[in-house]
Point group: C2
């Protein structure tokens, strides 16, 4: 019987490409657990590498670390969090949709100004800073 491999934080960092400081940060958020040796060092089992990769993958899906924590909590309760993940994912998609729409409308606005200002020689009024911008209406 061999003792299970005990990884130090630097080993986990190397195997995952995540900085040591970030790993400690994950732990402070409760996303990653470690055992402490007598020297105070954090020790990890090889599954920790897998867990860090899980965090990376969730982030790649646009999940915040808080989201990851929520998923982990569902898992901790013994449930399979896939349904929860699906709904989170749908939320992210909807948020993206909304943001894209907003940005597209905003871009159209800006292009409108650009085209209107393309060759106009503005009529500066006393006190004006940029006579072009001065024509923008105040949204009150």
């Amino acid at each position: 019987m061999t003792v299970a491999t005990r990884l130090k934080i630097g080993d986990v960092a190397k195997q995952t490409g995540i900085a040591v400081g970030a790993l400690r940060y994950y732990e402070s958020l409760g996303l990653l657990h470690s055992e402490r040796g007598d020297n105070g060092y954090r020790y990890y089992s090889p599954t920790a590498v897998h867990q860090v990769q899980f965090i990376k993958k969730a982030q790649a899906l646009g999940f915040s670390l808080e989201d990851v924590g929520d998923v982990l909590n569902v898992h901790q309760r013994g449930d399979v969090p896939c349904g929860f993940v699906r709904s989170l994912l749908q939320d992210k998609i909807q948020q993206l949709e909304d943001q894209i729409q907003q940005m597209t409308a905003f871009k159209a606005d800006l292009e409108d100004y650009r085209d209107r200002w393309a060759e106009s020689q503005p009529h500066p009024q006393p006190g004006d800073i940029c006579p072009l911008i001065e024509t923008v209406p105040l949204t009150v």
Copy 2:
């Protein structure tokens, strides 16, 4: 001959709808100037209202306060900053374009996952947290 109107910061705030704290913040960035009375109060001429509105309008075009400062500097040098403003505006449009493209591609990715995961009953492996997320490839 009447003394020119001297506005206090609260007056400017009321007339522009910008919080007092924000006006002080603008001043700290050099975007808004005031004279000090013997009591230490900031006093503004009515053109300050116009200048604050200019800041608001520039922000409505997606300009950062730093951008506004740059525009103001051109103006301060005695130049008309409209050419500079046009090029800033084109930059903002381009940035929006890029961001929209990125977000659209990302959204397509997420929708891909969503559809693939729609009714799949995943095959949990020992150590898995959410078998769905586990299928996401690591971008290394």
